[in-house]
Structure formats: structure tokens, C-alpha cells
């Protein structure tokens, strides 16, 4: 018997019962949001600091095209009937519309001050933009590509969620610390929903009748009834949750923790976090590929999109405390913002202090 005939040691086969981060795909600077086009096997990524939208081949993980848009595109959505991409260019005060197949620019629509979020109602043929700086939500006709009305919301209106079953929209008003409910057809405000301080993302699950709201300040996800606006409960996640997506069954919610470089996976029926997935630096948002179940995460700090296979399964246990705790702080020598002088950690010797790592976005 030669070695080819020799039985293998151990079990004849094994089943991998953990998630796997298959790749971190470089896409551009500051990728803030991703949307999946399962039919064309593509993902589209808004790269805020490249002022571009990038199309990725979902299966090969390579860029197909890069389209320049306005300054600082943050969200991106896909209107399947027209195969148009919409992105909100925060620093240009516009929404740019692209042909999803070629990346060619169709138009650029002025919408108001610092648009940072987009919502979509395919049935009503509407796209809604959230303007944090003036607290408004302009609505764009997805076919005619013109603004057809504006909903007054409150300061910080950024993320927009649309309940397509009830024809209602929701804006998360970050600075006002509120949530506005509006009629997605008539474009009139209907009231408010109670949210915690620092609401920065809202995502609907119309089938389950739930609205999820992320409070980046408190590290929690609130669950609100879409039927009557009642706050049902609040689930803790990791630091600074800013992006979310829900799986097609409504059974799992994936939450991007900007402050931790992780995705929290929540079992929505049990109402608890089941595990965390380590992704790239400062993840901004995520989307699921319904064909494969792969989770795509846009990492604004790393300039990458992480592809996570079987994200619903736990992975390696994470350390309970950060490995740096209990060790000497590595020394630094960094330029001061004001004047450029190099400051070193020796200046703070024998002092107790807090270093806050931050980014402007």
C-alpha cells in the first residue's frame, strides 16, 4: 500500500463551526458604507475620503470600477428597478446618481446641508436624504431624479430608515438626540420616537415590525415597535455602534462597533449578543450577500472591506481585557496639532492621564 492508499489520521471529515474572515479587500480611503447587488455579484462601496464609489466583484474581491462623485460620500444605496446607485456627498451638499453597471455619472442633485444618510422606498420610487446640518429630509423621485419635497426633522438628521410596509420613514437626529417619524408618501412629520443620546443609525425590519436604533454614545441598540413607536428594550454591544444590517430572516442583527473594530452579532429573538467578529479598523457599516450569507464590512480606518463567511457562527474567544492593560505604555513622539512641535510621552511622566484616540469622521 503506498501512501495514497493509507487512511488519513483523525476523522474522515470535519465541519468548521466558526465564522471566518476570508479577506480584507483594499477599496480606497475612508470606506463608510457598502451595498450588495447579488444578481450582478457586485458590492458598491462609498469611500468618503477618496470622493468615490467603488464597485467590487463579490466573488473575486477586486475593484471593477471606481467612479468619482462629490466630496465625502458617506452612504450608498442601490435602486434595482433602474440599476442606479445613489450616494450622498456630505461636503458637496449633493446626491450623486451613478449607473450601477458602468459607474458613469447620471446626475448630481443639490439636496441641502451636509447630507450624511440615505433611505429608500422602492415601491414609492423615492430616495430620502438626511441633512444633519439643517435638520431636514429631502425626498428625491428615483425615476425623475428631482427633489419632490422636504420633511422637517431635527438637527443631526443623518441616518434614514424606511418602513416599506407602513410607508413611514425615520430619521436619527444625532445632535438633537431624537428620532423623527414621517409619512414617506405625503412627506409630512408624524411625530417622534424615543431614542437615547447620540442616535446615529436606524435600520428597519418591517417583517418583524421592529426598528433598530444605534446609540453610539452609550454603546447600545434600542428596539422600537414600528406599529406604535413603543421602545421595547435596549441591547448592549461594544464601543460606538454606528452601522447595522439585519439578515433576511430577521433573526440576526449585525452591528459595526466603530470604537472597537468589531461586529456584534445579536440574536434578535433571544434579545442578546451572541458573539463578536474582529474586522478592520473603525468599521462604518455592513451588508449581507443574500446568495452566500457572507457579511461585508466597510472599515473606514483601514480602507478595506472585510468579507466574513458564516458570520452567524461564533469564532475564537476574545480576551476579556485589552492586552495592553497592566503593561507600560509604549512611548510616543508625535507632532502637536498647534505649532507642530514634537511632544513625547516623557512630558507626562509621573502623571495620571487619559489619551483619547479620535478621528474627525
Amino acid at each position: 500500500m503506498d501512501h495514497h492508499d493509507r487512511p488519513e489520521q483523525g476523522p474522515a471529515c470535519s465541519v468548521d463551526l466558526s465564522h471566518r474572515v476570508r479577506r480584507h479587500c483594499p477599496v480606497g480611503r475612508g470606506p463608510e458604507a457598502v451595498v450588495v447587488d447579488p444578481g450582478r455579484r457586485r458590492a458598491y462601496v462609498a469611500c468618503s475620503r477618496s470622493d468615490a464609489v467603488v464597485a467590487l466583484d463579490l466573488d473575486r474581491g477586486v475593484a471593477v470600477w471606481t467612479a468619482p462623485v462629490g466630496r465625502e460620500p458617506i452612504p450608498v444605496i442601490l435602486d434595482l428597478p433602474t440599476r442606479r446607485l445613489f450616494t450622498a456627498d456630505a461636503r458637496s451638499d449633493t446626491v450623486t446618481v451613478l449607473d450601477a453597471d458602468t459607474g458613469s455619472r447620471l446626475t448630481q442633485i443639490p439636496v441641502g446641508a451636509y447630507p450624511a444618510g440615505l433611505g429608500h422606498h422602492p415601491g414609492l420610487r423615492r430616495v430620502y436624504a438626511g441633512n444633519p446640518a439643517d435638520g431636514t429630509v429631502p425626498a428625491i423621485a428615483a425615476d425623475r431624479l428631482v427633489v419632490v419635497g422636504t420633511v422637517p426633522a431635527e438637527l443631526g438628521a443623518g441616518s434614514i430608515a424606511v418602513d416599506t410596509r407602513r410607508d413611514r420613514g425615520y430619521s436619527a437626529n444625532f445632535m438633537a438626540g431624537s428620532g423623527t417619524v414621517f409619512d414617506a408618501d405625503a412627506l409630512t412629520p408624524l411625530g417622534t420616537v424615543a431614542v437615547r443620546e447620540g442616535p446615529c443609525k436606524v435600520v428597519p425590519d418591517p417583517a418583524a415590525g421592529l426598528l433598530y436604533g444605534a446609540s453610539s454614545l452609550h454603546g447600545t441598540i434600542g428596539r422600537v415597535s414600528l406599529e406604535d413607536g413603543t421602545v421595547l428594550d435596549e441591547l448592549p454591544v461594544e464601543r460606538a455602534p454606528v452601522g447595522m444590517c439585519v439578515d433576511p430572516s430577521g433573526g440576526r442583527l449585525y452591528v459595526c462597533n466603530r470604537g472597537a473594530g468589531t461586529v456584534s452579532v445579536l440574536d434578535t429573538r433571544a434579545g442578546r449578543e451572541t458573539h463578536r467578529i474582529t474586522v478592520g479598523n473603525a468599521p462604518g457599516d455592513c451588508a449581507l450577500d443574500p446568495a452566500t450569507g457572507t457579511l461585508l464590512v466597510s472599515n473606514a480606518g483601514s480602507g478595506t472591506v472585510s468579507f466574513v463567511d458564516r458570520p452567524w457562527l461564533p469564532g475564537p474567544a476574545q480576551p476579556a481585557v485589552h492586552p495592553l492593560v497592566g503593561r507600560s505604555l509604549p512611548g510616543f513622539a508625535l507632532p502637536d496639532l498647534r505649532g507642530g512641535r514634537i511632544r513625547t510621552s516623557r512630558e507626562w511622566a509621573e502623571k495620571k492621564y487619559v489619551i483619547n484616540f479620535f478621528a474627525s469622521w
Binding site: R29, G30, R49, L217, H218, G219, R239, A240, N257, R258, G259, A260, G261, T262, T278, N281, A282, P283, A300, G301, S302, G303, V321, H322, P323, L324, V325, G326, R327, S328, L329, P330, F332, L334, P335, D336, L337, R338, R343, S345, W348, A349, E350, K351, K352, Y353, V354, I355, N356, F357, F358, A359, S360
Partner: protein, 78 residues
């Protein structure tokens, strides 16, 4: 405070941010993200608490309650 992962024009972006939010304290620029990587920082915001002997006592703690508790503990400890 240490600014990191700014991608484009860190000085200008950090300056604008400091002006908008009224940050008057020391702001340093980690332009390449190298120092954050050495510390294993993976997200923003992240707080690192250091005691008088230069030992890291906590990493994380960004909610108001967590940060207040961690600072109280740091100040109380000798």
C-alpha cells in the same frame, strides 16, 4: 488626544474638528496610524488610561458612565 486614520490632510481635519467641538487641550497627530497600531487600537473613539507609573490601567471606556468610573478609579489609586 491623538488624532488617527484621517486619510487626507490630518492637520486641517483635526483642526476643524477641534474648533467645531471646542477642544482646547493637547491634540497630537498620529498621521500614519503607527502608534495606534503599536497599542492595538482598532477603533475610534478609544480611551487609554495611564497611571503615574506609566502603566496602562484601562483601554476602551467611551460611554460617559464607563469613562467616569475609570477616571474615578484611576484618581483614587496611589
Amino acid at each position: 488626544m491623538i488624532n488617527v486614520w484621517e486619510n487626507t490632510d490630518p492637520r486641517q481635519e483635526a483642526e476643524n474638528f477641534a474648533a467645531v467641538w471646542g477642544l482646547g487641550g493637547t491634540v497630537l497627530l498620529d498621521r500614519t496610524g503607527e502608534y495606534a497600531a503599536r497599542l492595538g487600537i482598532r477603533g475610534v473613539p478609544t480611551n487609554v488610561l495611564v497611571d503615574g507609573r506609566g502603566i496602562v490601567r484601562a483601554v476602551g471606556g467611551t460611554t460617559p458612565d464607563e469613562l467616569h468610573a475609570a477616571v474615578r478609579e484611576l484618581l483614587a489609586d496611589d
